[in-house]
């Protein structure tokens, strides 16, 4: 398992019904591309996060497939519609089978 993986998400705490909000996510991960070589000239095996999803109350907002060309500490910024109060869930899927998740509540008035 990759070490020091820590998801960070920025979601506004409140919004109006039907508003568009901007979400920023970042997860610390070394994202080894499988292209680099170590000091002895051996290729370092690929170890990346290959999928990221964001859902709100069970409905999908965005589903991203990641390839090795995504930089270290994958960052995503996107926009979502919030029809009612609820919870965002964010999930990252690692090559090694680990799954990292994070959730944020939002109040809609």
């Amino acid at each position: 398992m990759a070490k020091g993986v820590k998801p960070r998400v920025k979601v506004p705490k409140t919004a109006g019904a039907g508003d568009t909000i901007t979400i920023k996510t970042l997860i610390s991960h070394k994202m080894e591309s499988g292209q680099r070589k170590d000091d002895d000239g051996n290729i370092i095996p690929r170890s990346i996060i290959n999928r990221f999803t964001a859902d709100f109350n069970g409905q999908n907002v965005i589903d991203v497939t990641l390839e090795p060309a995504i930089s270290t500490n994958p960052f995503f910024e996107f926009e979502a519609v919030v029809p009612e109060s609820g919870e965002f869930t964010f999930t990252w899927y690692d090559d090694d089978g680990s799954v990292y998740d994070e959730s944020k509540k939002i109040e809609v008035s």
Binding site: T20, Q35, V61, V64, A69, I70, S71, F76, V81
Partner: protein
């Protein structure tokens, strides 16, 4: 055919040549191949998709890229100068507001970044941006 040394040599040269020929067309346009795989050879429109990328990236390890295509169900990014051209695919769900996303990508050298958007009606849109990279980002 009798298996003499000469025949054996001929055989091996022929097979080497065949492998080389087989690998060649893919090498010529890896990105075009990947795009054709995605679109099934459909015509690519232009205009309904915006790709924002810096003109010059000092560090190829983290190049900010932004894509936006109103009415798209998915946007795929390619980098034609990378060892592997595929970068990422964004699939938009029902609660996605603007069908846009930003991320940071690695570029190995100066090259074109290509964005292909799949629209709701099944058509495809293409946008291209050239990024000059001063320090490459795919290691080596």
């Amino acid at each position: 055919m009798q298996l003499t040394r000469r025949n054996l040599l001929l055989l091996s040269t022929a097979s080497v040549a065949a492998t080389a020929m087989g690998a060649f067309p893919a090498f010529a346009s890896l990105t075009d191949d990947e795009i054709a795989k995605l679109t099934g050879g459909a015509n690519l429109g232009e205009g309904a998709i915006t790709l924002t990328a810096p003109e010059i990236a000092e560090n190829g390890n983290t190049v900010p890229i932004e894509v936006s295509a109103p009415g798209a169900i998915a946007i795929t990014l390619f980098a034609d100068g990378n060892p592997v051209p595929n970068v990422a695919t964004f699939n938009f769900g029902p609660l996605s507001a603007s069908r846009s996303a930003s991320t940071r990508i690695r570029l190995a050298q100066t090259q074109n970044v290509v964005a292909i958007a799949k629209m709701e009606d099944g058509s495809f849109q293409k946008a291209l941006a050239n990024v000059k990279v001063t320090i490459g980002g795919c290691g080596g």
